[in-house]
Symmetry: C2
Subunit: 452 residues, 2 copies
Amino acid sequence: MTSIPAQKPCPDLSYPALPAPSLQQALLAAADRRQAACQTLLAEMVRRPSLLGNEQSAQDLMEQTFRAMGLEIDRFPIDLDLIRDHPAFSPPALDVDTTGLQGRDNVVGIHQPRQQTGRSLILNGHIDVVPTGPADQWTSPPFEPVIHDGRLYGRGAGDMKAGIAAALSALAALRDIGLQPAAPVYVQSVVEEECTGNGALACLQRGYRADAAVIPEPFNHTLMLAQLGVMWFRLTLTGTPAHVLDTTSGRNAITAATVLVNHLKTLEAEWNAPGCCHRHAAFADHPHPAQFNVGRISGGEWPSSVPTTCDIDMRIGFFPGQTLDSVRAAVRQTIDTACATDPALAGVAVELTFHGFQAEGYAIDREEPVLRLLADSHTAVFGNAPREVAMTCTTDGRFFSLYGDTPATCYGPEASRIHGIDESVSLDSLRDVTRVLALFIAGWCGVEPIIP
Amino acid sequence: MTSIPAQKPCPDLSYPALPAPSLQQALLAAADRRQAACQTLLAEMVRRPSLLGNEQSAQDLMEQTFRAMGLEIDRFPIDLDLIRDHPAFSPPALDVDTTGLQGRDNVVGIHQPRQQTGRSLILNGHIDVVPTGPADQWTSPPFEPVIHDGRLYGRGAGDMKAGIAAALSALAALRDIGLQPAAPVYVQSVVEEECTGNGALACLQRGYRADAAVIPEPFNHTLMLAQLGVMWFRLTLTGTPAHVLDTTSGRNAITAATVLVNHLKTLEAEWNAPGCCHRHAAFADHPHPAQFNVGRISGGEWPSSVPTTCDIDMRIGFFPGQTLDSVRAAVRQTIDTACATDPALAGVAVELTFHGFQAEGYAIDREEPVLRLLADSHTAVFGNAPREVAMTCTTDGRFFSLYGDTPATCYGPEASRIHGIDESVSLDSLRDVTRVLALFIAGWCGVEPIIP
């Protein structure tokens, strides 16, 4: 195991500032010169289909890229036994061979300054991507990147390989003009952000901390001030099978599942009501922040038999401040009450399994130095302040903020149709994120000359 | 190919009568002596798991049994090309390897009398069984027959291997007392009754006709006067995929599927309304004859993605007199109207595929000689007339009645949980059906002595 240096306190806690205008100009120009290489890297990342359980090929590319940039490599497998007892641990998603989940790697590239004069930084991105959906609905195959009308298309192009490529290009831009960060920088390429977050949690468990963490998620140049909690669970309904000649003698598990989902939708409506006690201030203006999604369903096997069983996978969102235990209790209570009172569920057994995301929401103060400097960097590039957002999804940022004493936010490119068909990222946006992060890194970490 | 004898007209069209009382007594006693062998045969039939596409092992047993009874064998594969253009043809069920459906056999055992003095008869049964559902919910494994409390348990025990075993035992009982039918008898063990009926259709195409057909379906000693039409179809919905962070930007195909099913349920309610113009007189008193069943559903792949596609397999029932074209048009119209008017279906594409059962309903006059003699046979065994029923499912009887000029009905044992978990058949009932059919065959076909 690569030894991780003890965290040094930041020697100067004054308000972090952008680098001098001349350095800014040099950095922006260097960031722009990096764009061809950045696009090439991004395309190669997309070509490696890092679906759940299949991340190693993409991580090989990350290790090779980190090494070529002079970063020290810390590549380590996710050891579930080391993180299982952490309060932020999420049980692996069902239908996944958990033995296969052992032995998949995180890759961290470590930069150590000769002398630390600035703040340390974690640049974190997830290498895993979600399933493609029906591949034949894509205009071009999802893992064969194509550029069209200024956008790069492919599964993971936006979420979030572009962000990782931009962060690496920003660091490279510094090197291109003979500079390096004057503080430790940990570039983390982690697995399993899309279902549990256990990749980022393993980094935390391994000891990684910094003065801030930035995750270049594809949030369209906004500054993330808060994110919802997210929970996955499976409902397995068992009805009463029968010949369809008298469907009333059986209890259709598929029909029962849709009835039960409607009961859970009332919980969703309750949480989204403007006056709901759980509604966090950061989400005060969002019309419908807490999304309950039926993401997968499977039931029955024969058109002329009343189906015995039906499985549903749901994803629900909830507010910062709602504990995992209270959310699980509310779900359980809703189901119990529905089964006890709705005649349409009489005789139906419901099994509730929490798996995958058990992710708390969190918020971060807009006055945190990391947010201030990111805002200043954005303004330097765009000429106006970035929009601040409260996200209705989760990110790995929760681990750093809630459990790692490391203020974390997201700032990344404009992407479209993430998790959908024909996902893409804007190449102009990729360049702009590279520019913003180059300024931010120089300002946050400070710089020192590279001495060959 | 075994040549099929030209059908001889029945020489005596007078009202068929039960055999003389002394022969009745001898036959009933012989039927009872056959019960141990009948149960052994039934158990061996259950042991051969004749699921769709896997019927050959059970058909081997049928051929061997027919041959041991002195029947001539006509074993022939279902050739879809020979029946594809028949109006009663049903396209093979989806998710089935149709090349595998070629080459599966029907087995017919043929008895020819020395001299025909009675009516010819088709005894038809289907060897195929429906899927087991979750095997771990069965008290004992579905293809390992067990006898408990006077019932034999196993998938297919009731639907309808018991009926076939009883019919064979009734024929054997005649032989046991030195007699044989004085008319042609065709014992048909057919495939694919549970999804298309193409097995029985292939028998029809091959030329089999008779003065009547009896199918010992497990209808609890009732006389079937009518049966519903049955149709299968698949709905494939395509919504708009999206990241779940804003579900409103996508269109959830699973949710849309449940909405569309509710629209189809209004068609079901319409057809079941007491005053509905389609309601056939035979079903006048049934509270809810036309069952619409969602038998299988599959959609989505990831809890945090709005699912792009969802498939639903439905089975619907409709009345004798409703043509297949009119039913398909009503389904299509309901879907089109729903998609055009329901905002919950905006942006959702629906593909409608008719496959599996495209089965018309039919009714038979209670004065048909086959029904009269079956009723008399039942009365002779039970001491009271059988109940007459209109069935809310389909059987292969439709082929004979509608397309084969062969009046057909069903008469068979009491079974429970057919198509469900822990399917079973009553052994007392198995014996009683053997008794009734022995009397019926002797009365319908007449008898002649076996000359060795």
